[in-house]
Amino acid sequence: MTIRSPAAAVAWEFRHRHRWGLMAIAALLCVLSVIKLVVLVRGFPVDFDSAERFAIVVVVPISSTFTYFLAVFTYGLEGDLAARQSMYPARMFTRPVPTAALAWWPMLYGTAAVVILWMATRLLALWPSFIHVPTIWPGILAVVLLAWTQALTWMPYGLPGLRVIVVMACLTVIDTIVLLAIHFDASESFMAAFLLPQIPLAWLVARSAVARARCGDVPDWRGSFTWLARLGGVSRSRAHFRSPASAQAWFEWRRNGWSLPGWVAILLPVELLLLWVADTSTTLVVTILLGACFTPVIMATFGAVTVSTASGTGSASYSLSPFIAARPLTNAQLIAAKLKMTVWSTALAWLLVIVAIPLALARSGEMPLVIDRSRRFAEAVGTPRAVVFLLLVVAGFVASTWKQLVQSLYIGLTGREWLIKGSVFVMLAVLFCLGPIAVWIVETRRVGVVWNALPAILAVLVGIKMVAAAWVATRVYRGRLVRDRTLVIGAASWCIVVLVLYALLGWLVSGPLIPRYFFLLLAILAIPLARVSAAPLALAWNRHR
């Protein structure tokens, strides 16, 4: 195929690099159109009026697609979001193309993509329903959000991490104004008048950002903040590492350790600020607190992507870099360093949550309400149970955060692009199917059937988990990837944690309705085993290809 112009070359690159993602989106749109054309035309009674069903069928897949477009057209999948340098790929700067073209072609293609997405959503994904969806301005909003994200991610910044804060702040301001406009029933023309002028403005900012990046104009404000680094103990340490393992743990910490606490530190204050408007609404206070507690867990899901990256030196490659692969460390030691880093990262993130929540409750005046509700709960179930319940909930959140960080190691560390991308696709497909299945179960009144079958379902899952764990343990043992002692201690520790959790659950929820073995199955499924144990196998497969 002959590519005849720079514009066509840029388009070809987007199409070729993201062909699998684009094909998946095309498949999604085809499914939606088939549902609309076949099911609705034939008159099947399909009811999509409830907000939940609307969210499952339309909002989740379409907003996921929009997020994917944001990542693609900002070149976000190949850049470093936290770096000072522009995220616009430096390889493009040497092409004999005017700067405006460099900036505007990706913006134009991005605009076209989100406009097509909105049109397809409007035509194919929206069924006749009582939910009113405006015709034009959501499409313009998508274009505006994309344009500003492109402009602000391509801008060079004076401090590492500043890009994240600026982008988040800008998009939050736009979203807030739009939400307020919706709340006050603003007309379509008003929304268009507010949004449309932002498009050329964002395009001009983007052109300026690319022009600065192209001539290597990166401001450096770090000198003004050296006192802060000294204050935080980040100043140069001359002490030698005690062992290779501690050096590798330091490496992992410096590479990924700060990400999760950093994200939590940015998001938590914004969430907890809502306590000041919660007044005496118990529901709102509980929702805000739950949101704050889920923040590390959700952020850990994103953090896991970089934690499980094999390359280790920031290169775009999926395979292990020679720098890391040639370290005189066993595969188990390399994994141990990652696990140690994730434990510290989780602990620091939760330290922030545990300190921030009481502070915010005290300062916002919501503390008496929380104490009162806690006292009532303790009176209802007994103080020891209430305390154990609270500790178990906190431990559950902390463990879930850590689990999110490490459970994809066994995929990411393989360094196989097809496996990594395939697993993401499978996971999204499963998530996409879960909602409709749940709706079907509720609609067809099969909740009782599922409840009765739950022990059997859990038993099957436990069986799969134990078979997988046995297979992994055998491979790890035969490959001499970890010492026998480590294998035995790991298995024994896992058994102890499962038994403790089982005992606590059994004591906490005593009653004839739920059989004891149910708790044992839950405890076995809750504590990570097979996937974490498979990490050394994955790394060995990558390191010794």
């Binding site: 001359r238 062992s243 290779p244 501690s246 040639a326 005189p328 390191r543 010794h544 290809r545």
Partner: protein, 248 residues
């Protein structure tokens, strides 16, 4: 010159339909400088990656210090200094952090020697790796490969990163010092002139097979004193490097 540091027997490796190495056998005794030469894509890096245990032998065997580098990576890698062709040092590290980090892995790390190398290579300890030039990055890589005085130094295409001054004035001297101390150097390059200056023994690799492997003096003697470039062309029918590279 008795015990083999590297012993490769009937090593074959394929990547899809391409055979990168075909029944390669090689033995490298201790205490000499080995030049591994060949055109780009000849199989030099693939062979080196097998020696480091980064590739698993599909057939045949690889032994380094008598150990299997895949089964015992710590035993092998702790005695090797390696400068990668890819120059993939972590960009976020400072030079002093890189030295401190690497020091932890090698019990024989020599602080005084590391500092001497840093000064010789004119590397600012506070400089961040990603802000270094390509040549400076290669010097930093060479520093951490040398500072623990490895029994085996593996340099994979160092010429592609190091600037001409370092190559001419420093690299040769360093390599000779290592060999004089009874340690071994494996030096891969497609710039035959450079290999000719420092190598005791030359192995020519072409399309995954060993075209020639012998002491440099013997090769020259048997080819009437011709240069390695001329011998390479005579053997494989093409130069190892294009003219632009040779003129560097």
């Amino acid at each position: 010159m008795s015990e083999s540091v590297i012993s490769v027997t009937e090593l074959t490796r394929r990547f899809g339909a391409t055979t990168a190495l075909a029944s390669v056998s090689l033995s490298m005794p201790r205490g000499a400088v080995y030049g591994l030469v060949g055109a780009n894509g000849a199989g030099k890096t693939t062979l080196i990656r097998h020696i480091l245990g980064l590739l698993r032998a599909e057939s045949g065997s690889v032994r380094v210090f008598g150990l299997d580098p895949v089964a015992d990576p710590v035993g092998v890698l702790s005695r090797i200094g390696y400068l990668s062709e890819e120059n993939d040092l972590p960009g976020w590290m400072r030079v002093d952090e890189l030295m401190r980090y690497t020091r932890a892995f090698y019990s024989a790390w020599d602080d005084a020697y590391a500092e001497e190398l840093r000064q010789t290579f004119a590397l600012d300890p506070a400089a961040t790796i990603k802000n270094l030039s390509k040549g400076q990055k290669a010097r930093a890589g060479l520093l951490i490969a040398l500072a623990h005085r490895p029994e085996l130094l593996v340099l994979d295409e160092p010429s592609s990163g190091l600037d001409p001054i370092v190559r001419r004035d420093i690299l040769g001297a360093v390599i000779r010092t290592i060999a004089d101390e009874g340690r071994t150097v494996l030096f891969s390059s497609h710039l035959l002139g450079e290999v000719e200056e420092v190598a005791d023994h030359v192995t020519m690799i072409h399309q995954g097979t060993i075209a020639l492997s012998a002491p440099l003096d013997d090769i020259k003697k048997s080819h009437g004193g011709k240069s390695l470039d001329e011998i390479f062309v005579a053997l494989v029918g093409m130069p190892a490097a294009d003219s632009s590279l040779r003129s560097e």
